[in-house]
């Protein structure tokens, strides 16, 4: 059974249809990358999965059970199983690093503060920020903020981690520190769905690549196929362009 299954998913911003029937699956422990040109709907897929945008059609199934995004309980269930990290980190500026990471498990999931703090400290060490517990987001670099955002998402113990262009807002020299963190997660067997423009990284880390264009999946398969021998003209054109750079 697929861990995550997206079937004919569609979504719209007002009159503009952004997703026109997206299909892909994700197995447990798999790292899938959503690639494609800007405006192809990659980020919208993640937003729909998290219940930030409403689907207008299709289905999302986790371990075979369909999520009904029109029901708040179902949206809550989706957010219990999945966590997202945004391009702009979106940390709570009024909270310290530690509180950013612990607030949801403590206040929403009702877990004991001591236990959550110990876990948060482990997570922050894992993303290389053991010494930044008491810092505030505006005292950190972009790369550090993004790693806090990853720790915050992991503190929710998600089954699937969604990463939305997490290195796009970073200075080039800070990109690697975030990519290293994601490499580590992949090695640990975390199931991830990554939207990324870092093609070398996608090639290295992803076990599956889903290429989108104009709200549809154009082609999907292992990275060797998508980057080495794409089957469709659109994928060939896209890959040809990006590999020239």
């Amino acid at each position: 059974m697929h861990h995550l299954q997206v079937k004919d998913l569609s979504s719209a911003y007002g009159p503009l249809t952004v997703l026109k029937g997206v299909n892909f699956t994700l197995a447990k422990g798999e790292t899938a990358a959503l690639i494609g040109p800007s405006g192809s709907g990659k980020s919208t897929v993640l937003r729909v999965l998290m219940g930030l945008n409403k689907p207008t059609g299709g289905e999302v199934l986790i371990d075979g059970a369909a999520l009904d995004y029109s029901r708040p309980a179902s949206v809550r269930a989706a957010r219990e199983r999945m966590a997202i990290v945004f391009q702009q980190y979106n940390l709570f500026q009024n909270m310290s690093v530690l509180r950013n990471v612990t607030i949801a498990p403590v206040k929403i999931k009702g877990r004991p503060r001591k236990e959550v703090e110990a876990e948060a400290e482990r997570l922050l060490s894992k993303v290389g920020l053991a010494d930044k517990h008491h810092a505030y987001p505006d005292e950190l670099s972009g790369g550090q903020q993004q790693r806090v955002a990853i720790a915050r998402a992991l503190a929710l113990r998600p089954q699937i981690l969604l990463l939305d262009e997490v290195t796009s807002a970073l200075d080039p020299e800070l990109v690697n520190e975030v990519l290293d963190t994601i490499r580590g997660l992949a090695a640990d067997g975390m199931t991830m769905l990554i939207v990324s423009h870092e093609m070398a990284f996608v090639r290295e880390v992803a076990t599956k690549v889903v290429m989108m264009d104009e709200g549809l999946v154009v082609e999907q398969g292992p990275p060797e196929q998508i980057f080495g021998a794409p089957k469709t003209d659109r994928a060939r054109e896209f890959v040809g362009k990006i590999l020239r750079h």
């Binding site: 219940g51 930030l52 957010r79 945004f86 979106n90 500026q93 009024n94 929403i108 929710l156």
Partner: protein
């Protein structure tokens, strides 16, 4: 100049002046908090309200920020008795200052509402926070931090400039007490030099307290002077 300064006379009145200073603080704090409640509501109506409610909040702000507080207090103290409504000078000053502060604070708080980052609210939503938790943990702290310096400055403005208006209609706050005493001992210069000093001390205490609270609660690096 044939004038002998006698500051001893003014210092002898310190206990009476300090009673006035306490009334000044009372007026300042009550008018500020009353105004803050009005401001919170007014800003919500101006930001999220529709039709007549939004218009009403806008008209309130325009009226009270474009007329002197003294006129508003005169209206309450001298105008309303004509309609059979009589309030004490303290009440009229308090209501006048509160309504006046409410209008300015509506605009200050509106800036806070507008500044809330939708991305942080979205992050809170994806972490599973309910609407109430989003407001409690993300929206309100953000608004408070954003507008805190402006709020603190405005409190000083009400405390120093606003409350002394009460003296004109006979409120025995700090300036009023000084006028009362000076009309008896004719030591106007000494009295008002001492009163000015007390105002500076009051402002210093308020600024320092607000700066400390700001640093502790909101990490606002406010300067006292």
């Amino acid at each position: 100049m044939n004038y002998t300064f006698q500051f001893g006379v003014a210092f002898a009145e310190l206990p009476e002046l300090l009673k006035g200073a306490i009334i000044t603080f009372e007026l300042g704090i009550l008018a500020f908090w009353g105004g803050a409640l009005i401001g919170l509501l007014g800003a919500a109506l101006k930001t999220y309200g529709t039709g007549p409610l939004r218009w009403l909040a806008g008209a309130y702000v325009v009226f009270f920020t474009n007329t002197p507080a003294l006129i508003q207090i005169y209206f309450l103290y001298f105008g309303l008795p004509e309609l059979g409504i009589r309030w004490s000078s303290f009440t009229c000053t308090l209501i006048g200052l509160t309504l006046n502060a409410g209008a300015y604070l509506t605009e200050i708080m509106r800036a806070g509402y507008i500044s809330v980052r939708s991305t942080e609210v979205e992050a809170a939503e994806t972490l599973g926070m309910s609407r109430w938790q989003q407001i409690r943990y993300v929206v309100v702290p953000h608004i408070a931090k954003t507008i805190y310096p402006a709020l603190a400055n405005f409190f000083i403005v009400i405390l120093v400039m606003g409350t002394s208006i009460g003296a004109i209609i006979g409120v025995d706050e700090l300036t009023g007490q000084a006028i009362n005493i000076s009309t008896e001992n004719y030591r106007w210069i000494e009295m008002f030099v001492v009163v000015a000093g007390i105002y500076v001390i009051l402002t210093f205490i308020a600024s320092l307290s607000l700066a400390l609270v700001g640093r502790w609660a909101f990490r606002v690096k406010a300067k006292v002077f």
